[in-house]
Symmetry: C2
Subunit: 169 residues, 2 copies
């Protein structure tokens, strides 16, 4: 009898390793979506008065790099220190992609230090969003899916087919 | 020593109960996003030649109801049987919301039957998408986030503020 696995309060939906592999798949798709934009459209084009995709990417990078550092160490940057607030971010497509790849390295360094116990802690992410850490982690991943999907509408309205949602690597 | 919890190959990222609660939060936000559209815009408006949000909602409903049934029972409907393929779906906003709520009930009925062992099975979802079941489940949730985000761009281009991403209930 695998009693523990029949109890949904404790049964694993997916393992930490599976969740981070899932996220890296999404991150690879987001990278391809950045590549699909011309530099001009990346920084200047949007629909309905929304932010251009470059600014959404900066927010995603802010939540991913400083986010995983906060998740692992408990040391959170304040929102006022993050690039999407300060404006201190790369102003070219190449620069953004380079920061994207640097953030992939940071994520791969910190991810193996994430533990079940830590994910069940409650803490104010970025000093202001109090929640369970696993919920903060899901928020960061979901926020990337959300903003990348908005960018697919930008691309369609530019007559460009976005990279397929199901192709992650 | 909590050895098992230090091993990321087996450590829980989140429990089955937490993942389904997380999904129902997203589903509530998607329901509010449907409500934000007028009936005419829901069925007829889009950006960049994409599908109107109603058709994306039908796809979400197809993946959620028949999806959770397949996940639990192993009995998968074929894509050719699903409403977004057959065209047999509600043609009013009220009808779509009513089917949304019926699907919430179905999800709540099946979710408690999901087990860790089942989520680690490999199976062809809807008879054609072979993957681990947990990955299929994540795909269904992510696909909802993706299409709802596209609808937020439709709303912005109509001059309507979408419901906030972070407000789930």
């Amino acid at each position: 009898m695998e009693t523990a696995q029949l109890d949904q309060q404790t049964a694993t939906a997916l393992t930490i390793e599976q969740l981070f592999a899932h996220w890296q798949g999404h991150r690879n798709l987001t990278r391809k979506t950045i590549e699909a934009f011309s530099e001009d459209d990346l920084f200047n084009y949007s629909v309905g008065g929304m932010r251009p995709f470059a600014l959404l990417v900066v927010e995603i990078l802010d939540l991913t790099g400083p986010g995983i550092e906060g998740i692992v160490t408990g040391k959170w940057k304040g929102m006022e220190e993050l690039a999407h607030t300060t404006g201190n971010y790369p102003k070219t497509k190449e620069g953004l992609l380079s920061q994207w790849d640097a953030t992939t390295t940071i994520l791969n360094q910190f991810a193996p230090q994430v533990t079940y116990a830590r994910l069940q802690d409650t803490e104010a992410a970025f000093g202001m969003y109090e929640d369970k850490i696993y919920s903060t982690l899901m928020y960061i991943i979901d926020n990337e899916i959300h903003h990348r999907a908005q960018a697919t509408v930008y691309l369609r309205s530019l007559g460009i087919a976005p990279p397929p949602f199901w192709e992650r690597f």
